[in-house]
C-alpha cells in the first residue's frame, strides 16, 4: 500500500512532461493511475467484506513511534475506493475542462499530489503520518483553490481555506498527541482497543475538544462552514473532487475512525449531534438561498457534512448504517452534480441559476445525468439516495439524545434539499430557453463520462442495494461501531414512519421549490441580514486583529534601529537566562589558569586586542576586519585542540562573513554622528552583561554533567557502523543527518529571505 500512496506523488512529479507530450489526451492518460489504484483497492473487497483487516507497516522514525503503517478495513477501503474511482473521472474531466489552459501541467501535479495525500490520510494507521497527510491535503488544496492565482478573489478564498483548515490542524495535532499519549500508542489499530484510559483521564475533555476543532474546520462544520462555499473560486474539477467526495470528508473520516474509541464519552456524542445538526440546517438554508449553481452545491455539501456528523454522534447501529450509505450516496451524486455544474458553465457561459433555462434540447445527456443525480440528492426512489435518506430518518428516530430537535432539523433540511434538487435538475434544463453568454451545446465526452457513470451507479445501487451492502458497507459499519452486527439494505421497507417522513419532506420540498423563484428577492435580503451576524464576520475580525497586533509589535519592537533590536534581544536573554542560571545553579567562579601554555596566552591576548580595536575604531571596515581577526584566532583554538574540521569551517565562515559584511557596509554613508557618552555607557553595559552571562554559563556547563557524554559512542561506532573515520562528518551526514537536513532547509530559507527582500526593494524603487 506504500507504493499505492507514493505512486500518486511520483506521477505528480512527471505530470508536466506527460501533459506536454500528450497534449489534449493527457487527462485520459493520467487517469490510468487512479483507475489502476481503484482496481487495486477493489481487489481487496472480498477479503475486507469477510471482515478481515489488513495492516502493513514500514518503519519511519521508530524512535518516536512514528511509522508509515497502513490500515485497510471497511472504512478506509470505502474511502480509498471513492478517492481513486471518482479521482479517475475527475482527472479525465479536468483534462477536458481546462483544455488549452497554460497551467494544465501544474494543475495535474497538484491534483495528483492531493489525491495521493488523501489516500495516505485514509489509509494511515499511525496518528503522526495521518497528520502529515492531513496537512498535505490542506496545502495542496490551498494551491488548488488558488489555482487561478491572478484572480484576487481566488487568492483570498484559498488563503481563507488554508487559515481555517491549518489553524484547525494545529489543534488537531495537539489533540492527536494527547490521544497517542493517553492511549499509550500512536497506532490507530491499537488505540481503538485501548479501553477506558482515553475516556477516564482528566485530559480527555481537552483532547476531544482539540480533535473536534481539527475535524470541524476540515469538514466545514458550523461555525467554520464559511470557507467551503468561498473555495468554489477553484476550477470546477477541484470543487467536484475536493469539496464533494474527498478533502472535506477527511474530518468526517477521522471522526468515524476514532468513533469506536471515543463514542462512550459524553462530550463526543453531544457535540457531534449538536454541531452536526446546526451545520445541517444552516447548510440547507444557505443552499436554498444561493443562485450560483456551484454555491448551491457547496452549501448542500455543508448540509451533507452536517448530516454525517450527526449520524456519527447518534452512534446507534441504524445511524452507522445511515452514515455509510449516506457517505456513498452523497459522494456519487455530489461529484456528478458538481461536474454537471462545470459542464453548464463551460458550455453555456454562466452558472447563475436565474439566467439559465431550457437547455435540455441542447444538452440532453447532461440534463438526464443531472436529473438522476438530483433525484438521488432529493432522496427519491429508486435512487440510492432514497435508501440513505430512509436510513437517516430511521437513525434519527432511534436516538434518545435531542431526538425531537434532531427530527425537526432533519425534516426541515430534507425539505430544503428536495427543493434544491428540483431547482438544480429543472431550472437550467427545462422551461423556456433563456439567452446565455455562449450558445449552449453538449459537453465533450471527457466531461460527461464522470456524471453519467456516477449517476448510473446511483441508480444501479438504488435498484440493487445488496451490491454496495455486501460489497463494502457492512464492513464499513463494522469498522466504526464498537460491536459487530449484521444488516441489509432495501429499497422498500413497507409503510412505516421513515416513509411517512420521506413523503412529508417531498411535499414540503415541492412547496419550497415553487416558492424559490418568486421570492428570490426576500430570501436574498434575509440572508444578507443574517450574514451580518455570521461567523465569517468573526473570521475577518480575527484576521484584522492579527494584522493589528503584528503592526503594533513591529512598531514597538522593530522600529528600524538595529541597535535597539540588539539591546532588546540581548537584555531579554540576559535577564531570563541569568535568572535561571543564578536560581538553579548559583554563582560559582572557578578558574584554573595553571596549565595554560604560553602560546595560548598569545592567542587570548590577540583576541582581546582585536576586540578592543573593533570597539574604539571609527572605521567600519576596520571594525569588520578586526572582528575577522577574532574569528581566525578562534579557528586557531579549534585547530590547537585538534578539531581540524571545526577549524577549517571557522576559517571559511569567517572569511565569507567578512566579505558579506563588507558588501553591506560598503554602501552605508559615513557616520552622521558618534555615540553620546550615555549611549556608550549603555551599550557597554549591555555588552558586558552578555559577556559575563556567557562566561558563567560556559563555566556552569563544564562543571555540570547530567548524563554520560556520548562522544565515546561516536568514536567507537563511527567506523564500524557508518564506515567513516572523520567523526564530525559522520555525525553530520549519518548519525544526525535529520538535523543537518533541517539546517540546510534553514539555510535555504535564509537565502530566499535575503533574495526576496532585496528583489522586492529593487522592484519598489524601479
Amino acid at each position: 500500500m506504500l507504493y499505492a500512496v507514493l505512486s500518486g506523488f511520483i506521477l505528480a512529479m512527471f505530470a508536466p512532461w506527460v501533459q506536454r507530450l500528450a497534449g489534449d489526451r493527457s487527462g485520459w492518460i493520467l487517469s490510468l493511475l487512479p483507475l489502476s489504484l481503484a482496481i487495486y483497492f477493489a481487489s481487496f473487497l472480498p477479503e475486507i467484506s469477510r471482515g478481515e483487516v489488513i495492516i502493513q507497516n514500514w518503519i519511519w522514525l521508530p524512535g518516536m513511534d512514528i511509522n508509515l503503517s497502513f490500515l485497510l478495513d471497511g472504512l478506509s477501503l470505502l474511502f480509498a475506493l471513492l478517492i481513486s474511482f471518482i479521482g479517475t473521472f475527475i482527472i479525465i474531466y479536468a483534462g477536458s475542462y481546462l483544455k488549452g489552459h497554460k497551467d494544465l501541467g501544474r494543475f495535474f501535479v497538484i491534483m495528483l499530489a492531493f489525491m495521493a495525500s488523501m489516500l495516505g490520510l485514509v489509509l494511515s494507521d499511525n496518528l503522526i503520518s495521518l497528520f502529515v497527510f492531513w496537512e498535505l491535503t490542506s496545502i495542496t488544496s490551498y494551491m488548488l483553490i488558488g489555482f487561478d492565482h491572478e484572480d484576487e478573489y481566488a487568492r483570498k478564498s484559498a488563503l481563507q481555506g488554508l487559515f481555517v483548515t491549518v489553524g484547525g490542524g494545529l489543534a488537531l495535532m495537539a489533540g492527536l498527541i494527547m490521544l497517542g499519549t493517553l492511549g499509550g500508542s500512536y497506532q490507530i489499530s491499537e488505540l481503538l482497543n485501548s479501553g477506558d484510559a482515553l475516556l477516564t483521564s482528566s485530559l480527555s475533555v481537552g483532547m476531544i475538544v482539540l480533535i473536534l476543532i481539527g475535524c470541524f474546520t476540515k469538514s466545514a462544520q458550523f461555525p467554520f462552514h464559511f470557507w467551503l462555499p468561498n473555495a468554489m473560486a477553484a476550477p470546477t474539477p477541484v470543487s467536484a473532487y475536493l469539496h464533494s467526495a474527498t478533502m472535506v470528508k477527511a474530518g468526517i473520516y477521522l471522526l468515524a475512525r476514532l468513533n469506536p474509541a471515543l463514542a462512550e464519552h459524553w462530550l463526543w456524542s453531544a457535540s457531534l449531534s449538536l454541531f452536526g445538526a446546526i451545520t445541517m440546517f444552516v447548510g440547507a438554508y444557505l443552499a436554498y438561498s444561493a443562485t450560483d449553481v456551484k454555491k448551491v452545491l457547496a452549501y448542500s455539501t455543508v448540509m451533507a457534512l452536517g448530516t454525517l456528523t450527526v449520524l456519527i454522534g447518534i452512534g446507534t447501529p441504524y445511524a452507522l448504517i445511515a452514515f455509510a450509505s449516506f457517505l456513498l450516496a452523497h459522494s456519487m451524486y455530489k461529484a456528478a452534480l458538481f461536474m454537471i455544474a462545470g459542464v453548464i458553465d463551460h458550455e453555456a457561459g454562466t452558472k447563475d441559476l436565474t439566467r439559465l433555462g431550457g437547455l435540455h434540447k441542447a444538452m440532453p445527456v447532461t440534463a438526464t445525468a443531472a436529473l438522476i443525480a438530483a433525484l438521488s440528492l432529493a432522496g427519491l426512489p429508486p435512487l440510492f439516495g432514497f435508501i440513505a435518506k430512509e436510513a437517516l430518518f430511521e437513525a434519527v428516530l432511534s436516538t434518545e439524545l435531542y431526538s425531537n430537535f434532531l427530527l425537526v432539523v432533519a425534516l426541515l433540511s430534507a425539505m430544503l434539499v428536495t427543493a434544491i434538487a428540483a431547482v438544480i435538475a429543472i431550472k437550467p434544463f427545462y422551461g423556456e430557453l433563456k439567452a446565455t453568454p455562449k450558445a449552449p451545446h453538449e459537453g465533450p465526452i471527457g466531461m460527461l463520462a464522470g456524471p453519467v457513470v456516477l449517476a448510473s451507479l446511483s441508480l444501479l445501487f438504488g435498484l440493487m442495494p445488496f451490491l454496495p451492502d455486501i460489497g463494502i458497507l457492512t464492513a464499513t459499519v463494522n469498522s466504526i461501531s464498537s460491536e459487530p452486527f449484521d444488516f441489509y439494505l432495501a429499497l422498500w421497507h413497507g409503510f412505516n414512519l421513515p416513509l411517512l417522513l420521506s413523503v412529508i419532506s417531498l411535499l414540503g420540498g415541492i412547496a419550497l421549490y415553487h416558492f424559490w423563484s418568486g421570492n428570490r428577492h426576500h430570501i436574498g435580503t434575509l440572508t444578507r441580514q443574517l450574514s451580518r451576524f455570521g461567523p465569517e464576520v468573526g473570521y475577518f475580525k480575527f484576521m484584522d486583529g492579527i494584522v493589528f497586533s503584528a503592526d503594533w509589535q513591529t512598531r514597538v519592537l522593530q522600529n528600524g534601529k538595529m541597535g535597539n533590536y540588539m539591546i532588546v534581544m540581548i537584555m531579554t536573554t540576559v535577564i531570563l537566562v541569568g535568572y535561571t542560571l543564578l536560581s538553579q545553579y548559583g554563582f560559582k567562579l572557578t578558574l584554573q589558569a595553571g596549565d595554560v601554555a604560553f602560546y595560548e596566552w598569545v592567542i587570548a591576548l590577540l583576541m582581546v586586542f582585536s576586540v578592543l580595536y573593533a570597539i574604539q575604531t571609527r572605521s567600519r571596515l576596520g571594525a569588520v576586519a578586526s572582528m575577522g581577526v577574532l574569528g581566525f584566532t578562534v579557528a586557531l583554538i579549534f585547530i590547537h585542540f585538534s578539531a581540524p574540521d571545526l577549524g577549517i569551517t571557522q576559517v571559511l565562515v569567517e572569511t565569507l562573513t567578512v566579505i558579506l559584511l563588507i558588501l553591506v557596509l560598503f554602501r552605508l554613508p559615513g557616520f552622521s554622528h558618534y555615540s553620546t557618552r550615555f549611549e556608550v555607557i549603555r551599550d557597554a553595559s549591555v555588552a558586558i552583561s552578555m559577556g559575563v552571562l556567557m562566561t558563567l554559563l560556559l563555566l556552569a556547563a563544564i562543571d555540570t554533567q547530567y548524563f554520560e557524554t556520548i562522544s565515546a559512542f561516536f568514536v567507537e561506532a563511527s567506523y564500524p557502523e557508518a564506515k567513516g573515520r572523520n567523526i564530525v562528518n559522520v555525525i553530520l551526514v549519518d548519525f544526525r543527518s535529520l538535523d543537518t537536513l533541517g539546517e540546510i532547509f534553514v539555510l535555504a530559507i535564509a537565502a530566499l529571505g535575503v533574495y526576496s527582500m532585496l528583489k522586492l526593494r529593487a522592484e519598489k524603487s524601479s
Binding site: 514500514w58 577549517i648 558588501l663 564530525v728 539555510l747 535564509a750 532585496l758
Partner: protein, 148 residues
Amino acid sequence: MIEDNKKIMKTNTLILHTAALFLLPLQLIFSVFLLLRGHDEPGGGFIAGLVASAAFVLYLFAHGVPATRNILRVEPHDLLAIGLLLGLAAMFPGLLYGEPFLTAQWWEFTLAGSEIKLSTVLIFDIGVYFAVLGTILTIVMSLTEAEE
C-alpha cells in the same frame, strides 16, 4: 547595460583579475576533493561548499556579477533547490529496504584495484555542498546586484 554601471565589486587590478581566473578551477577541484575525502579525513560537504563559494565570490570580486553568472550558467537559487532535493533523495532508499528513513545505504565495489564506496551518505553530503553553495551565492549575488 550593467557592465557600464559603476561596479563596486569589480576591480581593475590585473593581479587579482588573473589570479581569480586560475584560482577558480583550482579551488573548485579542491572543493570536490574535500567533499569526497570528507568521510574519512577533514572535509565534507559543508566545508567543500564553503570553499566552492569562496571560489565564486573571488571571481565575482574580480570580474563582476554578469561574468560570474556566465560561468555559473544556472541561477544560484537553483543550486539551492538541487541541494535540498538531493538531501531529500537520500532519505528514501533506506525506506525501500525496510529500514527507518535516512538510514544510510552503502554500495561498495572495487574498480581498477581501488575500493569505491558509494552511499546515500555521499548523496546527502553532495546535497549539503550544493545547499551551502547556493545559499552563499544567492545572498552575495543579491547583495552585489542590489547596488545596480
